[in-house]
Symmetry: C2
Subunit: 294 residues, 2 copies
């Protein structure tokens, strides 16, 4: 039986170490660097880097080589959280049980720390690509910036804000989430595969896996907002309902939402049948995504 | 006599056309794309792309090839203006005679439009690099992200905010500006040279040129804030003094500031003696930078 907890802990230690080294090397000491570090080390689940590393292993890659890119993905995710939490956006004061960046520092610092993390992500991938020429790092940058940008994550956040107060259809909700969270999760898996020089059949399978898993991840987020434990979550629950947000439980009901997320994970796992046991981490992550408590 | 006005007009038309094509191709229609387009076409001077194009010509490059990268630099510059104008930062309501992005739209849209422009810049350079392999586009991405990031432009903005209300020394002011505006101007020149496959002596000369010109540009900005015409500038003047900002006129006095900017441009021009007449656009831009009225 694959020990996911141990796998995640081991990898998270390496991710934290790599992030720490990057910050030491690539920032000047001061308020900006402090805010970047604060948010990067605020206890995130590290789902995206772990997916990148696990996908790399699944296709037979050498996982050590993938860490800088995995960290760049976590930087992009963290920047998006910092900006989403701002007063002009979701106005969240708490994230993962800690004060959000603009509460701990101030709004200007939070905006700039987010900007700097996004920018640093591309610096890291470019620097990494200059040293590692066995894969197409320009293609990686193109795909990651696309997934994170105006036809991906940022457009999703825009749609999320625009949709506040109106109940979206299931199709609209799915599109919004596939942009807001799905795109970056998909490209995290793809990045690991690309760096591991995956073949076409492997990439096709991983695309299905990441799309289904990404959606299940979001549905679970919505479910946890209804019935999660605020102490474990590190943030308030029930806020979606109060803010009249379109969520899967609101549209489908809780029972159907749970069912849907389970079916998605089943489909995701079915897509992985072409892989051997080196794919077990990816399989376990899919399972964890709907069983998690936060 | 080189006709700079005509040169800038011709290039700006091409820059605008390229920017328009990029936005059409790389964004979805909607509020986000509207805000990105609004700020990109709000009448900027296009100094950075013009410097990139002119540097490319100076080293004998084919300037048509440089436009996507020149536009990416303008996107990064525009994103930085959108974020700097936000209420949590400089809280500016007017920019280039038009409402700033968060006034015309709203704060959330402005934050996201800035994020999207920054992200799109890297997508454009990566896509361009995939098609044009005659120069090192990964190195270009590394240098541009570095110049725009936590050891460049963003750190400069952070220092600018942190220094508000205290009179900086001339050395502190120079460091802040070399980060906040200098770094991106320098990398704009460098990008053009790199794409044109410049030699080492050419690059060294252009580094001196861009450093001196960048500083002169900032000093002129400070001078225009004292004695510029608000109608030509499209924004209020005298604001630095009111906000107790550290500026060159405040530290050195107006007369010495004018003298210093002239000397810097003289040094910048002296560095260009190794180039032939294909460098005339760069020479003219340096001259324009201190003679401009806005």
């Amino acid at each position: 039986m694959f020990d996911l907890k141990n796998y995640i802990q081991t990898n998270n230690k390496l991710i934290d170490k790599t992030l720490d080294e990057i910050l030491q090397l690539k920032t000047n000491p001061g308020q900006l660097a402090k805010a970047m570090r604060y948010s990067l080390t605020a206890g995130g689940k590290r789902i995206r880097p772990v997916l990148c590393i696990a996908a790399n292993e699944a296709v037979g890659g050498d996982s050590a080589a993938v860490f800088p890119v995995a960290c760049a993905l976590e930087m992009i995710h963290t920047y998006s959280l910092i900006h989403d939490d701002l007063p002009a956006m979701d106005d969240d004061k708490l994230r993962r049980g800690k004060a959000t960046c603009h509460i701990r520092f101030d709004e200007a610092t939070a905006i700039l720390a987010g900007d700097a993390l996004l920018t640093l992500a591309f610096e890291i991938i470019a620097a990494y690509g200059l040293k590692n020429t066995n894969f197409n790092s320009l293609e990686l940058i193109r795909l990651i910036s696309r997934a994170a940008g105006a036809r991906g994550m940022i457009e999703g956040q825009m749609q999320d804000i625009a949709g506040e107060g109106t109940l979206l259809s299931q199709a609209q909700l799915e599109q919004m989430h596939s942009l807001k969270t799905g795109a970056l999760i998909e490209v995290a898996v793809y990045s690991g595969a690309l760096i591991g020089n995956a073949g076409k059949a492997q990439i096709d399978a991983l695309k299905i896996y990441s799309r289904k898993t990404g959606l299940a991840f979001q549905i679970t987020d919505d479910i946890l907002n209804v019935k999660g434990d605020p102490l474990i979550m590190g943030k308030a629950v029930g806020t979606d309902l109060k803010q009249n947000k379109s969520t899967y439980p609101a549209i489908l009901g809780l029972k159907k939402s749970v069912e849907m997320s389970k079916n998605l994970i089943k489909d995701a796992l079915d897509a992985l049948t072409i892989f051997d046991e080196r794919c077990d981490p990816l399989r376990s992550v899919a399972d964890y995504i709907i069983k998690r408590q936060r």
